[in-house]
């Protein structure tokens, strides 16, 4: 995967030379060492990023074991394409692009399995739960503060699961990975306005579901 052309097209500032890359993005520098078959650099990258990817996929799929498998798949793809890596954009953007593709492939695989009668992973079926049903559940008007922390976490997970895959991925990249809209656009293969719209709709859906659990103005 070569992120150079698409990265500059989407507004990400290209890093001009390998030296600049190393100074500006230590992960890109590590990746260059991985490309030169440096196994230690690969391990360092894993230690820096695998936990974050597990978190990302955990909240994306709702299942920790699936998240570990997907995070591993991302790094296997990174390793396989190490000789094709060109450090012209941030390493993280390249990694999130692969992560997005891996999550999309999981979805495609689960659809194919359903065609042949193989059950989808529980996580995927959970994420298909409709927002309407969840909103009805929330409309019991449980007073804010009553729900304890664990219950609240459960509700947040349900609210995330009710988003569609793209909305959820955009929210997770923005919230947990602090990605800019440009980076999210690059990773998900979308335009920046599309990402803005995605985040706006995601926010709206989250607010519809979680408003009973937050203290709004005047409450």
């Amino acid at each position: 995967m070569n992120g150079s052309a698409s990265a500059s097209a989407s507004g990400i500032i290209p890093l001009s030379s390998p030296a600049a890359v190393g100074a500006a993005d230590p992960d890109a520098s590590l990746m260059q060492r991985v490309a030169a078959d440096d196994a230690t650099a690969f391990e360092t990258l894993l230690l820096r990023w695998q936990g974050r990817l597990v978190t990302l996929f955990w909240h994306q799929t709702g299942d920790h074991a699936t998240a570990e498998d997907l995070a591993q798949e991302v790094f296997l793809r990174v390793y396989r394409s190490r000789h094709r890596y060109r450090p012209t954009a941030r390493f993280s953007t390249w990694l999130y692009t692969i992560a997005h593709n891996v999550a999309r492939d999981l979805k495609a695989r689960s659809y194919r399995r359903r065609e042949y009668g193989v059950p989808a992973t529980s996580s995927v079926s959970q994420s298909i739960a409709g927002l309407d049903a969840l909103a009805v559940a929330a409309s019991g008007q449980i007073p804010a503060r009553v729900a304890d922390r664990n219950e609240l976490r459960g509700k947040i997970r349900e609210a995330l699961a009710a988003l569609n895959d793209n909305q959820r991925m955009a929210v997770l990249l923005a919230k947990f990975e602090q990605c800019s809209q440009e980076e999210i656009a690059e990773a998900m293969g979308l335009s920046v306005p599309a990402v803005k719209s995605l985040l706006f709709r995601a926010r709206d859906n989250l607010r519809a579901f979680l408003s009973p659990y937050v203290e709004g103005p005047g409450k």
């Binding site: 074991a65 570990e68 065609e115 995330l160 929210v171 602090q178 800019s180 803005k196």
Partner: protein, 288 residues
């Protein structure tokens, strides 16, 4: 995290703008923005996962095992000729398939007997044969470092169910097949027809091998065969697709040679490392 806070503020600003742009008046837009900030902050309650050392170790092992793939013969062709070669093979297979298919239509009883084999042909070809799985199982015993197989493969589980449901030439089996087929959509029917055509092109010994494998998996009460199948599928799943395709076509001996070479590579890699990867006993059990 300054960058994070800046991005977060920017996102909230964008969303506030969008709310205002959607016809929300000034006061409501402000309220909406505050509520958004709170919802956004609520997401901080979500826990952060850690990657267990076992996952890091297993990822490195898989990367070492699957690295520097010896491509199949087709990979040695100049780029432009790949399509030509693939196209010729497809055209030849289509022509041959039409001829063979029209000449050797299976009898109804044979149709039912082979139904689970055809339905799960891709999976069975990946698994290879009873001989391979048994020898692979012995290898796992002596070489527990081989990664993969942490969880049952759902496709294998569904296939084993199929094998025990349909793998009989009886009236119930015929009815079960009919019921099963009723639930299919157009894509599933097309996939089955393709598999049927592929199966018809296999040699008789290979067909027999796959039928025997199907029966063995359906009757695998001790679980060793299933365990080996799970581990092998997990290993295959993590390989480069091209390498996976090449391995599927190999016989048991060639597959085991490939595995031996990769285990040797893993040993060399671990000997070179200053800090060894955690052993199986130190690995944490996967969380459910």
């Amino acid at each position: 995290m300054n960058r994070g806070r800046r991005e977060s503020d920017r996102l909230i600003d964008t969303m506030g703008d969008a709310a205002a742009g959607n016809g929300v008046d000034g006061g409501s837009a402000e309220t909406a923005e505050v509520a958004l900030g709170e919802v956004w902050d609520l997401l901080d309650l979500l826990p952060v996962a850690d990657a267990p050392a076992s996952l890091t170790a297993s990822t490195i092992e898989m990367a070492v095992i699957s690295a520097d793939v010896p491509r199949t013969a087709a990979a040695g062709l100049p780029a432009g000729r790949h399509w030509l070669a693939a196209g010729s093979i497809v055209a030849a297979c289509l022509a041959l398939g039409t001829l063979v298919g029209s000449a050797t239509l299976p009898q109804p009883s044979e149709n039912v007997r082979d139904y689970p084999v055809v339905k799960q042909l891709d999976l069975l070809r990946k698994l290879g044969s009873i001989e391979f799985l048994e020898r692979f199982g012995q290898l796992i015993e002596s070489s527990p470092r081989l990664p993969g197989g942490r969880r049952p493969n759902p496709q294998l589980e569904a296939a084993v169910l199929d094998f025990s449901l349909f793998g009989r030439s009886s009236t119930e089996a015929v009815q079960a097949v009919e019921r099963d087929r009723d639930g299919w959509d157009a894509d599933a029917r097309r996939a089955f027809r393709d598999a049927q055509s592929d199966f018809s092109k296999l040699s008789s010994p290979r067909k027999r091998e796959l039928r025997m494998l199907t029966e063995a998996l359906a009757e695998a009460t001790d679980g060793e065969l299933i365990t080996a199948a799970n581990r092998w599928l997990a290993l295959l799943d993590r390989l480069d697709p091209l390498e996976r395709a090449g391995l599927v076509d190999l016989d048991a001996d060639a597959r085991l040679e490939w595995i031996d070479r990769r285990i040797e590579r893993l040993r060399r890699f671990n000997n070179l490392r200053q800090r060894p990867l955690p052993g199986p006993s130190e690995r944490r059990a996967p969380r459910g």
